[in-house]
């Protein structure tokens, strides 16, 4: 591919959302009190994700056949893994931003926000997208770290969107815990940089991932082991893994629904991708045993914690957040096992979980708007009162439970098969038992909310608007399509898996 | 077990010799029974004097069974309703229902003076009337209480044996 085309394809994903963010920032400044938000401006928001998906598709057709594409003197680089994650990010962003206008209209109607708030929302969301694209496409691990820290800062005010006590609390916890976690990751990066410099790699390319991966054999084992441990703790915090996981339920229960969809669906996965980059380096330097043990332990502890906390959950947005933690631990377990079956299964699980969780969170947003409560106990007879919303929410949770037509089933089976072939049979069996607990808890609460006769207090039956139903149904269909046949994506998936050790 | 066997061998046959067959010509309905009569006793309010005699009639000494007469549990199974005592107010409807429940040809035998003309209890406040007033009686056995032999003879006129 000629350099000009590759430069365009690599800069478009971060650049277009950034431009949109700038546009909305200007509009935010000039927005008077009570001014009406121009309709087309909202739908213009879709340009950013559309650009991301377009570029990702173009790269997807090129990269598996011809290897990674670089631009700007190897600053931006797209290999199999980043293209796959870009595709997932684009898809999830498309769904979230398609659902945003409906959500914000509801918020404005309920008086929680106004025109200025809307523009601020779009500015921050587009900045958030741009940051994530940079994190995926950057070749330099330092730049990846900076981008991920930027996502924390940008989403701080998204989590604190509503100026209530709870949102301030959520925002504070989110920023403090994530920044502390990310700082540890930076310490790990510094140590890896130190080891690389001692191994004789030049200063300019010491943090450049391809060269690091190539020369990983010469890194000093002790330093690399310490650096990798810190990175797993650091980026694990942003990926919702133990020990710095506690921000996730609070942030997700207070953030606007599309934002928590984006965060759960993609932000966790992007930070996990960064972690995978380091895993590739550490595996060549220390052998697969070390990171496998560390990641598997972290994954199982997270799974146990989320399963137990799901059992006694009373708030359905926190329930979905803990379900994200559960799925991230399954993905971490799949990555820990590695190998030709478990690694692609883990990446497929990222995609499936992203789509299903987005639909779940967006419909949870509608449920909140309809019933004004996030308590599971007070939401009854959803299917009876608004069939479309109930059906979509129910099917999204069915997908999250890992039931067949949806891709989460195929990926979970893949991870278990990989686990047994890779020798981690006991860990996978323990994980399945814990997933069973989560299954029971999630199923029980969703059943309470969705099923049952119509509740008089809930008012007359209300249909879900077509504009807000389309993205949700599209998300479900995409997840089901992924579950039945991968088609052209299968080459991309295998390429992505081999870049991080799925030999 | 052994003691009972010895007692059985010791007592031997208790039933008295069968008196000669009564010559009275049997009722038309009785002729159809062909020597097999199944009896359902109905106590329509008797003082149980007649019941004791009926018991003796079917006891080992008089042994009504040897002539083909058998007591049965339900009027459905019975050909003969052996009715005793004056019919009290409560037993009037049940007596009618019992006789109605018996498949034809059905015969009603009234045992004892009370059944024939309310006997001692004539005019009692609880007495509805005698059996003869309530249902059509085919054979009647007077006496208060009638001898078991008289009851057996009446029954033998029905079996013809």
């Amino acid at each position: 591919m000629n350099p000009a085309a590759s430069a365009l394809l690599l800069t478009a994903p971060p650049a277009v959302p950034l431009a949109a963010a700038a546009l909305h920032a200007v509009a935010w400044r000039r927005a008077a009190r009570g001014a009406r938000v121009p309709g087309p401006a909202q739908w213009a928001g879709l340009l950013g994700p559309a650009a991301i998906v377009g570029c990702a598709a173009a790269l997807a057709s090129y990269v598996p056949g011809h290897g990674p594409v670089t631009a700007y003197g190897r600053l931006l680089r797209a290999d199999g893994l980043s293209v796959w994650m870009l595709l997932v990010t684009g898809a999830v962003a498309l769904l979230a931003l398609a659902a945003s206008p409906g959500y914000l209209a509801g918020e404005r109607a309920a008086g929680h926000t106004d025109a200025a708030g809307t523009h601020r929302y779009y500015t921050l969301v587009h900045a958030f997208l741009a940051a994530m694209c940079v994190a995926l496409l950057a070749a330099n691990l330092g730049v990846v770290w900076v981008a991920i820290e930027a996502t924390t800062i940008v989403t701080a005010f998204l989590v604190g969107h509503r100026t209530t006590r709870a949102s301030v609390e959520a925002a504070w916890k989110y920023v403090v815990i994530c920044s502390a976690g990310i700082a540890l990751a930076f310490l790990g990066t510094v140590l890896i940089y130190y080891a690389a410099r001692q191994a004789g790699i030049s200063e300019a390319s010491a943090l450049d991932w391809p060269t690091l991966a190539a020369h990983a054999g010469r890194l000093d084992p002790a330093v690399t082991r310490l650096g990798t441990a810190l990175v797993v703790l650091g980026f694990g915090a942003k990926a919702g893994l133990v020990p710095l996981h506690a921000w996730l339920p609070d942030a997700h229960s207070q953030a606007p629904a599309p934002v928590s969809a984006l965060m759960s669906g993609v932000l966790l996965a992007v930070s996990f991708t960064a972690l995978l980059r380091y895993k590739a380096v550490a595996d060549t330097a220390l052998g697969a045993g070390y990171t496998r043990g560390l990641l598997a332990t972290v994954a199982l502890v997270t799974l146990a914690l989320s399963a137990v906390l799901l059992l006694a959950q009373r708030d359905y947005k926190r329930m979905l957040a803990y379900s994200s933690m559960e799925h991230m631990s399954v993905i971490a377990l799949g990555a820990a096992i590695g190998g030709p079956v478990a690694m692609p299964a883990a990446l497929l699980h990222v995609a499936g979980h992203g789509l299903a969780k987005t639909v779940a969170f967006c419909s949870a947003g509608h449920i909140l708007r309809l019933r004004e409560t996030t308590r599971v106990g007070r939401v009854r007879g959803l299917l009876a009162q608004s069939p479309a919303l109930g059906a979509v929410f129910g099917l999204a949770v069915v997908a999250l439970l890992g039931l067949p037509p949806f891709s989460l089933f195929a990926s979970e089976v893949g991870i278990v098969r990989g686990g047994f072939t890779g020798g981690l049979g006991w860990a996978v069996s323990l994980a399945l038992a814990l997933v069973l607990f989560a299954f029971a808890a999630l199923g029980y609460r969703t059943g309470r909310m969705v099923l049952g006769p119509p509740v008089a207090a809930a008012g007359p039956p209300q249909a879900l608007g077509v504009t807000s139903a389309v993205p949700l149904v599209a998300g479900l269909l995409a997840c089901a399509a992924l579950g039945t046949a991968l088609g052209p994506l299968s080459h991309l998936l295998t390429a992505a898996a081999t870049t991080v050790g799925g030999r | 077990m052994g003691g009972l066997l010895r007692k059985i061998r010791g007592t031997g046959r208790v039933a008295e010799a069968a008196p000669p067959r009564p010559e009275a010509d049997p009722l038309p309905a009785a002729r159809e029974l062909g020597g097999s009569v199944q009896v359902r006793c109905v106590d329509a309010g008797s003082c149980n004097g007649c019941e004791i005699e009926i018991g003796n009639a079917f006891g080992p000494v008089y042994d009504a069974e040897r002539y083909g007469v058998r007591l049965v549990a339900s009027p459905r199974h019975a050909d003969v309703a052996l009715v005793t005592g004056p019919v009290t107010r409560n037993m009037a409807e049940p007596l009618r229902r019992t006789v109605a429940a018996m498949p034809q040809p059905a015969i009603v035998v009234a045992v004892g003076d009370c059944a024939l003309d309310c006997g001692e209890f004539a005019g009692g406040y609880g007495v509805e009337g005698s059996v003869v007033d309530m249902v059509s009686v085919d054979v009647s056995v007077p006496g208060c209480p009638p001898e078991p032999a008289a009851i057996v003879t009446a029954l033998r006129t029905l079996t013809g044996r």
Binding site: - | I8, V14, A15, S36, P60, Y67, L71, S74, P105
Partner: protein, 320 residues
């Protein structure tokens, strides 16, 4: 199959159908004699049957086909069993499918039909009788089948003619402990199946104690005759079966009519002896409380189980 085969089957059915009332009459006569009474004579059941057949048929309101079909099915089922079981001859046209499990099941079919008729009337007595009858039938089933299992082991098959022929060829088998235990268990099962004294009193008038009679309280005339004939035939066939299994000598294995006649005569004699023993035993025993019956049946079940396990360990020659 020779003509005598067909004759044998017809003879068996005729003997059982005709002889059953006589057997009951004979047992009542024995009992009367033991009680010092004169007794109604052996032919009395025939007279009862003839009189009942001539009476007016009655169908209680609200009863359906189950009520009407049950007596017919009871008698027909027992007749088919009489045809199958090699009471007189082992080589008959039907001996191929004369299976002991089929025989036990056909008898159970009669019980089920009668229980359904009891329920069809909708009266309290009908329901009570049906409930108790089915409870006892359910508990008898394991005992009978285990006894069948024990008896079939030496012959290596549950086909009745094969068993009887096998026992005739090896007379020692009848004295073997397994066979004795099996026959004892079978006798207790027969008592329960036909509702004789320890389990149920056929001549009782107290409805609350009835098991078998409570179901048939509503029958009258011809239906009642069939029901009584059916239960009498069932008793005759079962005693015949016990006699054939315990003392198979005399059952015609060859084809000649003379042997057949002798076999029939011997059959009547054996059943009469068993009838006498049963009647005499009834004089000494009283009806057991309904919820003591399961203990009785549990005892016979243990006998049957010992028979089976015993026959395996003792003889060990469980042929194929």
């Amino acid at each position: 199959m020779s003509a005598t085969g067909y004759v044998a089957v017809a003879a068996q059915v005729a003997v059982v159908a005709g002889g059953a009332p006589l057997l009951t009459g004979w047992m009542r006569q024995v009992r009367a004699r033991l009680e010092g009474r004169a007794g109604a004579g052996v032919v009395q059941p025939w007279r009862d049957a003839r009189k009942l057949l001539r009476k007016e048929p009655v169908s209680p309101t609200g009863t359906g086909p189950a009520f009407r079909l049950a007596p017919l099915l009871l008698v027909a089922g027992t007749a088919v069993v009489a045809a199958l079981v090699p009471l007189a001859a082992t080589r008959t046209p039907v001996s191929g499918s004369a299976d002991l499990i089929l025989v036990v099941a056909l008898l159970a079919l009669g019980t089920v039909a009668l229980a359904l008729a009891g329920l069809d009337t909708g009266t309290a007595f009908g329901g009570m009788g049906a409930s108790r009858e089915m409870t006892i039938a359910a508990l008898v089933e394991p005992t009978i089948l285990l006894a069948v299992f024990a008896v079939s082991i030496p012959a290596g098959s549950t086909n009745l003619p094969a068993i009887v022929a096998g026992t005739i060829d090896h007379p020692a088998r009848t004295a073997s402990p397994a066979e004795l235990l099996a026959v004892a268990a079978l006798v207790v099962a027969v008592l329960a199946e036909t509702g004789r004294i320890p389990v149920d009193n056929p001549a009782t008038h107290l409805e609350l104690t009835m098991v078998h009679e409570a179901m048939v309280l509503e029958y009258a005339g011809p239906d009642l005759a069939l029901v009584e004939l059916g239960s009498q035939m069932r008793l005759a066939v079962l005693l015949g079966l016990v006699a054939t299994l315990a003392a198979p000598w005399g059952v015609a294995t060859g084809g000649s009519p003379a042997l057949l006649a002798l076999a029939l005569a011997l059959l009547v004699a054996k059943v009469a002896v068993l009838g006498t023993a049963l009647a005499a035993a009834e004089v000494f025993r009283a009806k057991v409380r309904l919820f003591k019956v399961p203990e009785l049946l549990a005892g016979s079940f243990v006998l049957a189980l010992l028979a089976v396990v015993g026959s395996y360990f003792l003889t060990g020659e469980a042929g194929r």
